[in-house]
């Protein structure tokens, strides 16, 4: 079958789709990856075939312009629907309104959606797999009749919030004077998708937000309750797009417990703020009988006042090669780092302060596989104490091992491919079959 993957142009959101793309390709399917031109190099570096659509979304300028305000609305805010008192109407409306205005419509602007729809009309994919904020994928699927699914690389708190928000809007009093002509005039995301689909004469329904099903790479312990169909898939680290090269020092086992310190790649390559006080982090490890591998680039090193003797500074090393040698990891909380540490069974100190990073870190702590330390609460003593606990108390390693086993119990991307074939056959609009084409699905 023909599978179109799409993600807006940000490595952190694209990377999670690479192993599935490989699996589809290795199973003989045709695969294209559509994104704005800025992602073309990353797509091709991953060995995949790129389809540039639209113009680059200028995310950095957006973050510079309004990032502080948008992020401050979400900072330190749990998105867990089970945390009482968090998902208030005002919070959810601000989330929906601000992200629709500055983010969803930016990364799925009209030219990008038009190009994606035009490509889908010409190439006629059987299945469109879209990154969960790249709603253009859902639009292209609904316009062309392709089956479509979301691919989740982080806990689906977006959908929990969406459900909570729609429930709040539904409970609001109806307007007798008839101002509220549409179902949910305060649903900015729904409104935008309504007029975007309307450009192609297709009515909006919630499937444009949920997909027909979701492929979820997040271990079950971290999945919020879902009311849509979910296909579980094991997270397989890709850790691109930087060159994955095993350095000499990594080829011999460490003589002391090894601890990885990383701030991830997104803050390096975008205007998304690095909230981690990295100088404090390295001060916290000073004098411990451990070997610290800190993956810091020149800009991050410039924040250091002192490099302790037990710290090895490296610019970049593939985490999936490094982490099997590590006893613990201290990181910024990002999804790619967190997922890689999880499948490698490494206890984590996650410094998440926003979005799902908070809830991932908190749940990880509740499951005994790590500790949460919001980046703005980092102190030398606080971090050192937590790290010593992670290294000294075997329960953390044991719990991390349980999560690793849980992750490994999910089918691999290769095993998921036949499931996608079956679901595609079920969901794909009959009329969308290519004239003269081969059967879209393996029976």
């Amino acid at each position: 079958m023909r599978v179109l993957l799409t993600s807006f142009a940000l490595d952190a959101h694209f990377n999670g789709s690479v192993p599935l793309a490989w699996a589809l390709r290795a199973a003989g399917h045709e695969v294209r990856v559509a994104s704005q031109p800025a992602l073309t190099a990353s797509i091709t570096a991953a060995g995949l075939t790129a389809v540039p659509v639209g113009a680059d979304p200028r995310l950095d300028e957006m973050v510079k312009g309004v990032g502080d305000s948008v992020l401050s609305h979400h900072a330190d805010q749990s998105l867990d629907p089970d945390t009482p008192g968090q998902l208030t109407p005002a919070f959810l409306k601000g989330w929906d309104t601000m992200l629709a205005a500055t983010f969803y419509t930016l990364i799925n602007d009209d030219p990008m959606v038009d190009d994606l729809v035009a490509f889908a009309r010409g190439w006629e994919p059987d299945l469109i797999v879209w990154e969960p904020f790249t709603f253009a994928g859902a639009v292209a699927a609904k316009v062309t009749g392709a089956a479509h699914a979301r691919l989740l690389s982080f806990p689906d708190l977006f959908m929990s919030m969406r459900r909570a928000y729609l429930a709040q809007l539904g409970a609001a009093p109806a307007d007798p004077a008839g101002w509220d002509g549409t179902a949910h005039p305060e649903d900015s995301l729904g409104q935008w998708l309504e007029w975007t689909l309307g450009r192609y004469g297709v009515p909006f329904d919630e499937e444009a937000v949920t997909g027909q099903w979701s492929v979820d790479q997040v271990p079950r312990s971290f999945r919020p309750p879902s009311d849509g169909p979910v296909v579980g898939m094991r997270y397989v680290p890709y850790n691109g797009p930087g060159p994955a090269v095993v350095p000499d020092w990594l080829r011999v086992p460490p003589t002391r417990p090894r601890v990885c310190v990383t701030l991830g790649l997104t803050a390096r390559t975008s205007e998304f703020p690095n909230a981690v006080p990295v100088d404090l982090v390295l001060k916290a490890v000073e004098g411990l009988d451990i070997e610290v591998v800190a993956t810091l680039d020149a800009e991050e090193r410039a924040l250091l006042t002192h490099v302790p003797d037990n710290v090895r500074l490296v610019d970049h090393v593939p985490l999936h090669a490094l982490l099997p040698t590590c006893a613990a990891i201290v990181h910024h909380g990002g999804a790619g780092t967190w997922s890689t540490a999880l499948v490698e069974g490494v206890p984590q100190i996650a410094m998440g302060w926003i979005w799902d990073a908070i809830d991932r870190a908190q749940r990880q702590q509740a499951l005994g596989a790590g500790l949460h330390l919001p980046s703005h609460e980092v102190t030398v003593e606080g971090l050192r104490g937590r790290l010593v606990r992670l290294l000294d108390e075997p329960s953390f390693t044991a719990a991390a091992g349980r999560l690793r086993a849980e992750a490994e119990s999910e089918p691999t991307p290769a095993q998921v491919v036949p499931v996608l074939e079956r679901l595609t056959a079920q969901h794909r609009a009959r009329g969308a079959r290519r004239p003269g084409g081969t059967s879209p699905c393996v029976s």
Binding site: M62, S72, P89, A101, D110, A177, T182, T196
Partner: protein, 442 residues
């Protein structure tokens, strides 16, 4: 003359995607600016924040201060009065002929939020000269002075209100069953809308009711579409009436403008403007003033009871409601030239927003400003309905509200709220009432 050069409607055409994105961006920025606690941005958000608290914060932020939205805001009575009286502070940009449209370039660039959508076709961004001429030519009917025509209007009002009050049962909704119908009917009679067009006129006025809010606070796409369609519809309706009055004049508002404005370049265009403004501004301001007056009075049963002592108290009640709960809370202006105001030097093109609600409760101007006082001496300078388009209907709205108070006090003396007043979302200017349930029996 501005109205002669009214742009073709084609200039206003945008796809749903273009208009929707524009509204979404403006709305997003009101939220973004509100995250830092900016009380003007929070006012425009029009969410659950306590309006009384925001009003106080706007007043206490300084005599004239710049909001994160770019607007210079005042909630001080002295500066507000000065701004509202300053002819250099206009409803439109001096250097922007044609529609007051601002195109947002990027989703992250600070957008110009002074005219969210161009409402030139509704005559809401007219020049001072136009307004002066319209007020003069309409004064025989709208001016509020005595005279045969005004007397006729008063008698008409009394009849309309009595009929509306007598239609109500044991319980009714003040907005749906009283304020809106009487305001709409009174406006229809002012304009001489024939019986066959009354239903269409009422439906159009309902959709036009968001206009003053829509100028500053983005409405949802569907609401905005209904508004702009209603503007075209009311223009067509009024234009037909004007055409008919040119050959068969009467004593209605449109005939009056045609007659008294006959020295104007185009009396027909002026009559169209005044007629459209009656529907766009007159109806909603009148209904709002009735609602706010009754809400203030019924929350204070002693004061409601006192109204029975003398019908003259009704005028004081309405005047106090104008101060205490303005039917139009925000007045937005654009500096036509560089000027000084409230100790600040403002460049030409700067937006100045007068928070009438805040200024009307300024303790430096009013004794016990948070106290609703029927006997408050007149002449202390409350600032409601002193904008060019709101003052045009000041006498009309006052007359209707006074008549409402008198009529309801007389015919429904045991009136009391039967539930909370529910207001429209995204209504920072009008605080538009959706529901105001009342009971007429103890």
């Amino acid at each position: 003359m501005q109205t002669q050069n009214a742009p073709e409607t084609a200039e206003y055409q945008q796809t749903d995607s273009e208009l929707g994105r524009h509204l979404l961006t403006a709305r997003g920025f009101h939220w973004i600016y509100g995250t830092s606690g900016d009380p003007y941005a929070l006012t425009l958000r029009a969410e659950s924040d306590d309006p009384a608290l925001l009003t106080r914060r706007i007043r206490e932020a300084g005599p004239l201060w710049q909001s994160a939205t770019g607007a210079w805001v005042t909630g001080r009575h002295g500066v507000a009065a000065q701004a509202l009286a300053d002819p250099r502070l206009a409803l439109r940009h001096a250097d922007l002929p044609g529609p007051q449209r601002h195109v947002f370039s990027d989703a992250w660039s600070n957008p110009q939020l002074c005219h969210i959508i161009p409402l030139d076709r509704a005559f809401l961004h007219a020049s001072d000269a136009d307004h002066t001429r319209w007020a003069r030519s309409a004064s025989a009917v709208l001016g509020g002075a005595g005279g045969a025509t005004a007397e006729g209007v008063r008698e008409q009002a009394g009849r309309v209100h009595r009929e509306a009050a007598d239609r109500t049962g044991d319980s009714f909704d003040l907005m749906a069953d009283y304020s809106r119908p009487v305001a709409t009917q009174a406006a229809a009679e002012l304009l001489g809308v024939p019986a066959a067009q009354r239903e269409r006129f009422a439906a159009t006025c309902l959709a036009l009711g968001v206009a003053l809010d829509a100028a500053l606070c983005p409405q949802p796409l569907a609401v905005t579409r209904r508004l702009t369609e209603a503007v075209e519809d009311v223009r067509a309706l009024v234009a037909d009436l004007v055409e008919a009055r040119r050959t068969q004049p009467g004593d209605d508002l449109l005939s009056t403008v045609l007659r008294d404005g006959s020295s104007a370049a185009s009396p027909a265009q002026d009559a169209l403007a005044v007629g459209v403004l009656t529907a766009v501004v007159g109806v909603e301001v009148t209904a709002g003033l009735i609602n706010n007056t009754l809400e203030s009075l019924l929350a204070r049963p002693v004061q409601w009871a006192r109204l029975g002592e003398g019908p003259d108290l009704a005028a004081g009640a309405v005047e106090e409601a104008l101060r205490f709960a303005p039917p139009v809370r925000l007045e937005s202006r654009i500096a036509a030239e560089d000027l000084s105001l409230g100790g600040q030097d403002l460049p030409a093109g700067a937006q100045v927003v007068v928070h009438v609600g805040a200024a009307n409760r300024d303790p430096e101007a009013f004794l016990a400003p948070d106290h609703f006082d029927l006997d408050r001496p007149a002449g202390q300078g409350q600032l409601s309905l002193s904008g060019p388009h709101t003052s045009l209907f000041g006498a009309f709205a006052r007359l209707q509200a006074e008549t409402a108070v008198r009529t309801l006090r007389e015919r429904r003396p045991v009136l009391a709220p039967a539930g909370a007043v529910l207001r429209r979302m995204r209504s920072p200017v009008l605080g538009g009432v959706l529901r105001f349930p009342l009971t007429t029996s103890a």
